[in-house]
């Protein structure tokens, strides 16, 4: 991330509030990303707005349409005086005003034509966002992108319904930012430097001040050793035994001359932390699963750095790590004098660095053996080691699979359709698939013309029954819903576009920064009931 942008503003200041969420490296990825939007619909421009404001590198709008009156009614980035002009050009210009540090481009061309004449066009993008495409063109686009391994996000606002689908072959996440991450303290299998440091402190001979400022980690370590000595080397196993350990610690609090216990905050913290500190060190099942992924086992010169890193960590676990991941190397805040806190912290940092060094050797060996030209930076290796318990992978199904009645996930569709009085958001997925089929057959969306709502309801009902039948399901969609979706007449409400613009941009940022786990793979929002739903299709 460069300090000053074209705008002349200090980016640290301008982006301060978001740097606190995804960090400088996240911001750098964002600033290097190239996003393509297909069709400057209201939903499309809202997504772009939310990417341009935080400073995406560049955006390109592909849209062959001319601006119509209805576009101006729901799209903030098109105005009355531009009616008749290129939608791609006008939207690009108005959106580009949002941030001087972002480059805007446009292609005043029909996406279908572009796909036919120049499919290579899409190769340069980090991600493509598609709105306002018919099923037929969408599937063509999805095919091209799937072959080129470019992520695709499909998003639409249809009446009061929002829909989003992420199509990415393989997306690896190092920083998944889990909600409830355990500390990595290794009290159950202390490393030599920790043992040495804890053993160097003698709680019994300390003066009062040092005693009440000994980090709780050391306190638990000491009493845990004592416990183990008294219990054939095994740690407290259950609630009762943990309480006994807590009691031992409680009894360790100093007493004054009158026999009254002193106020020792560090001991209170130790007692509170016993349960957390005794969680055994283990490898999360998700990571275990990744270790056995064919991509980790069969490395090739084409392997992504993620897999080389993962394989190196796997080898570490099987050898030097004795079954444990590399040490994270951080400890929580605690009551302590800073001298000893820092010594303790350094013990963890040094061990973590040692683990990183071992893994770095493995990475380099692997790279050499694969005769790979690229190297993996020390920073990347460090980040990977620190997050090794949280690495994740996302593999979406392709749109082609989803749109094939033989390969679509009919099991989940069926169970949701029959779920809870038949009011699952899954119904809206089926309805949207229905209106797309309707469009393919009649070249218009149902209910678009107010006089035709009733006949369209019957037509759509037939189409949806057929669709469900093709999936080998027997469920029914209530006629009320079919009525409602016909009433929408494919209109795009700005408010729904705004919500979907927020949700979709957030997913795009996740994909670009490689932080947080994106949605897998379909998201549906129902504004009438304010409900939402994510499902893997």
């Amino acid at each position: 991330m460069s300090a000053k942008g074209k705008s002349g503003l200090d980016k640290n200041n301008k982006y301060d509030r978001q740097l606190r969420l995804w960090g400088d490296h996240g911001q750098t990825s964002l600033e290097q990303a190239r996003v393509c939007l297909i069709n400057a619909t209201a939903t499309g421009t809202e997504i772009l707005k939310n990417l341009i404001l935080p400073g995406v590198g560049s955006f390109t709008i592909v849209d062959g349409n001319k601006i119509k009156g209805e576009d101006v009614g729901n799209n903030f980035f098109l105005s009355q005086e531009n009616i008749g002009e290129s939608r791609a050009k006008t939207a690009m210009e108005l959106l580009n005003e949002l941030n001087d540090d972002v480059n805007g481009c446009y292609e005043d061309e029909n996406p279908e034509t572009l796909l036919e004449n120049n499919p290579e066009f899409f190769k340069k993008f980090t991600i493509v966002v598609a709105t306002g495409l018919s099923e037929r063109v969408l599937l063509q686009l999805a095919d091209v992108l799937w072959q080129q391994s470019i992520p695709l996000l499909v998003c639409r606002s249809y009446g009061f319904i929002g829909y989003m689908r992420l199509v990415v072959k393989e997306h690896t996440v190092i920083e998944s930012h889990p909600d409830n991450a355990h500390e990595d303290l290794r009290l159950d299998r202390p490393f030599p430097a920790l043992v040495k440091y804890c053993d160097s402190l003698n709680m019994d001979t300390m003066n009062k001040k040092d005693h009440s400022h000994t980090p709780w980690l050391v306190i638990i370590y000491k009493y845990l050793q004592q416990w183990k000595n008294e219990h054939n080397g095994s740690p407290p196993q259950n609630y009762k035994e943990k309480n006994q350990l807590k009691q031992m610690i409680r009894e360790g609090i100093r007493k004054n001359e009158d026999g009254i216990t002193e106020d020792e905050e560090n001991f209170d913290e130790a007692i509170k932390s016993v349960n957390m500190a005794l969680v055994p060190t283990r490898i999360p099942s998700e990571v275990e699963k990744l270790f056995n992924d064919p991509c980790a086992i069969n490395l090739s010169p084409e392997s992504k750095p993620f897999w080389i890193l993962l394989r190196s960590v796997k080898e570490f676990v099987e050898n030097e790590g004795n079954g444990a991941l590399p040490l994270r190397g951080s400890i929580p805040d605690m009551t302590a004098d800073s001298g000893r806190y820092i010594q303790l912290q350094n013990a963890y940092i040094e061990q973590a660095n040692k683990d990183v060094a071992v893994i770095t050797d493995k990475v380099n060996m692997l790279i050499n053996s694969l005769a790979k030209g690229v190297s993996i930076s020390d920073q990347e290796i460090k980040l990977f080691c620190k997050n090794s318990a949280f690495v994740r992978i996302l593999r979406c199904t392709s749109l082609a699979e989803e749109y094939n009645s033989q390969t679509i996930n009919t099991q989940d569709i069926g169970s949701h359709l029959e779920d809870e009085d038949g009011d699952s958001e899954m119904i809206f997925y089926v309805l949207l698939r229905g209106v797309d089929r309707f469009y393919e057959e009649y070249n218009r969306y149902p209910g678009g013309d107010n006089d035709q709502v009733e006949p369209d309801v019957q037509l759509l009902k037939g189409i949806i029954s057929k669709l469900i039948h093709e999936w080998g399901l027997t469920s029914n969609v209530k006629e009320d819903y079919i009525h409602e979706i016909c009433r929408y007449g494919a209109s795009e409400l700005h408010t729904i576009a705004s919500i979907m613009g927020g949700c979709a941009a957030q997913e795009v940022i996740k994909v670009i920064t490689g932080q947080f786990v994106p949605i897998d793979n379909t998201f549906i929002y129902n504004a009438v009931k304010q409900t939402s739903f994510a499902v893997k299709l």
């Binding site: 200041n13 509030r17 969420l21 400088d24 935080p54 409400l493 409900t531 994510a534």
Partner: protein
């Protein structure tokens, strides 16, 4: 005009066209909200915001550009929105919604009020105004990836103040001045120092050693006092204000450094009782600074690494010179206002708090982290605001159609919860019969020491700050109607420094408080207690039965999780903070199962959110 009106249906489109809306706040949520309202077809909108545009707003407040920095948010938001849609009628006020100009009659003119606010004081106030005017209110807030929308209607739903909010954490003065033990204590001290030198001088923000520390026995304090007179090291200058003294030195970096970080510390060391159980501080000398290492190689960005002591002293000297210049540019009675986004002011606080941390053996922090603590920064992004602003409009449409019973309280999660929901709707709760704001006869119990509580403190800290009043009148319910406080300026000011006990206010006394602007009457029952826990000055409890109940939630112990008593208001503040959401999970019902409550707003340790303080 807006294509959406057709789909919304006949009654809705009519209601939208005739609706008069008040939007309070033109920041992160406000900008998005104005856009959504205009494009949904709302014609008649009043927007009010007292804030001006800052560079750090531009990453999400899309109606503003860099050329607007420094201008009125409300005014620019209006103009930008009209550029995009000239047909709407938007009126902008660059003003505080808490001003007496906007009384109950002003609120009554609107069909509905939408809050897009960033601080609790204004939220409390608008809540009361809407209750008084009986106008539906849509309340909202965001923090990072999290967001929330709720609907408030008098008599029908919970009001904003029905659920007690955790008090804004503050630190005892003696911790700040004498015995800091966490980085935040030093950060607060550094901000106080800034104000003492360049800002509004507040006696509550003294930065010199406190000889009235309750930990000091009379004797020990006396010894220190005597030493002070003898040595005259720190003593002689104590008599003057820090500012006067600093000005007389010509803001000499070395002299000020040695006073704050050497002499004052030596003086603190002389209060021996303080250090019996604590690690004593180490005074620093400007000319003999320790060689401390930088945490990271110098290639790491300046804001992201911990500075060495020499670097800190250099930054301190540079800032002092720079701030002195800015200060003198302000003219005779001018002063500087501390702002986290002002480089000099921020560097000053980062350097001085780290020097103080070093002295007291507390971990030093990076400027980036100190900014979070000092500025009480809440991360804010475009996407969350876009979602929340649109949810506000959806709820607003239900209210307009008279379908308020279908409204929900809606939470936005960071990622889909275990039940695969990103947005989680919850049923709105009924008003709390015990609420000290919206119940028919509001009353509240306040625990305090009537012999130590002055009328002025009662007014400022209890009635205005804790209980959210703007201009209270107070009389004692003693049969005589003795008036304690008057909202008329100049009246009853002679009472200011008197103690409550002087008016025979004691345990069980009742004070009748009336805020005319808010149309709000509150009965305060006084519970006298000689000494409160943690040296608090007072404690507001819903009713006496709660007095002995255990606190519902534990305070976060994370050092970074602390906030200061002098909160900076930040954009797009949540209605509730993380702690509070977890708590309110226990009362959630209807739309969700208990198993997802914990998953809703889990506290994470790995995330930057932890550095962030939410009111």
């Amino acid at each position: 005009m807006a294509a959406s009106l057709g789909v919304l249906g006949e009654p809705t489109s009519k209601n939208v066209l005739s609706c008069k809306l008040l939007v309070v706040g033109a920041g992160g949520i406000g900008c998005e909200l104005l856009k959504n309202l205009v494009l949904t077809g709302f014609h008649d909108i009043v927007v009010i915001d007292l804030d001006t545009i800052d560079v750090s707003n531009l990453n999400r407040q899309f109606l503003f550009r860099k050329e607007h920095v420094g201008k009125s948010k409300a005014q620019v938001a209006k103009e930008s929105a009209l550029n995009f849609n000239p047909n709407a009628k938007i009126t902008a006020y660059h003003d505080s919604i808490m001003s007496p100009d906007y009384g109950v009659d002003f609120f009554k003119k609107f069909t509905m009020v939408m809050n897009a606010l960033d601080n609790r004081a204004a939220r409390n106030h608008v809540n009361r105004m809407c209750l008084a005017a009986d106008i539906p209110l849509i309340e909202s807030g965001t923090a990072g990836y999290l967001g929330q929308v709720t609907v408030i209607k008098k008599g029908l739903t919970e009001c904003y103040e029905c659920q007690p909010k955790p008090p804004q954490k503050s630190f005892p003065g003696c911790t700040i001045r004498n015995t800091p033990s966490e980085p935040i204590h030093c950060v607060v001290w550094a901000k106080h120092l800034f104000n003492q030198l360049f800002g509004e001088e507040d006696p509550d923000q003294d930065v010199s050693p406190d000889t009235e520390d309750p930990e000091l026995t009379a004797e020990a304090g006396q010894t220190a006092l005597e030493q002070k007179e003898q040595s005259n090291v720190a003593g002689g200058i104590e008599r003057k204000s820090t500012r006067t003294w600093a000005m007389e030195t010509g803001y000499d970096a070395k002299k000020i450094f040695n006073k704050l970080f050497r002499d004052d510390i030596k003086y603190l060391l002389s209060m021996e009782t303080l250090w019996k159980k604590r690690r004593p501080p180490n005074p620093l000398d400007f000319d003999n600074l320790p060689h401390t290492e930088c945490s990271e190689p110098s290639t790491v960005m300046r804001d992201q690494r911990v500075w060495s002591m020499k670097e800190c002293a250099q930054v301190f000297s540079d800032c002092l010179a720079g701030l002195k210049k800015e200060f003198s540019n302000q003219g005779e009675n001018g002063m500087l206002v501390w702002d986290k986004d002002d480089e000099l002011a921020m560097d000053f606080v980062a350097s001085t708090s780290n020097i103080r941390s070093h002295i007291f053996g507390i971990n030093q922090k990076t400027k980036f982290d100190i900014k979070s603590m000092a500025g009480n920064i809440i991360p804010a992004i475009a996407t969350t605001n876009a979602i929340i602003a649109a949810v506000i409009v959806m709820e607003g449409l239900k209210v307009l159609n008279g379908r308020i019973e279908e409204c929900k309280q809606i939470y936005l999660n960071r990622q889909p919860n275990p039940r695969k929901k990103l947005l989680v709707p919850c049923a709105l709760d009924k008003p709390s019969p015990k609420c000290y704001v919206c119940s028919s006869k509001p009353e509240v119990t306040v625990v305090l020491n009537t012999e130590k509580m002055t009328i002025k403190t009662l007014e400022d800290k209890i009635l205005k700050s804790a209980l959210g009043m703007v201009a209270p009148d107070v009389e004692i319910d003693d049969g005589k109607g003795t008036i304690l406080i008057s909202s008329e300026e100049g009246e009853m000011e002679e009472n200011n420094d008197k103690f409550l006990s002087e008016f025979h206010v004691g345990n069980g006394s009742i004070l009748k408080c009336d805020d005319f602007l808010q149309s709000y009457e509150l009965k305060i029952i006084i519970a006298h207690k000689d000494k409160l826990e943690e040296d608090k000055e007072f404690d507001v409890v819903g009713d006496l039965s709660e007095l002995h109940a255990k606190p519902l939630v534990e305070q976060p112990t994370n050092q970074n999780g602390s906030t200061t008593s002098h909160q900076e208001e930040e954009d797009d503040l949540m209605i509730v903070d993380e702690v509070e959401v977890i708590k309110s999970g226990t009362k959630r019902k209807a739309d969700q199962e208990p198993d997802e409550i914990n998953a809703k707003r889990p506290k994470s340790s790995g995330d930057h959110n932890d550095d962030i303080v939410i009111l």
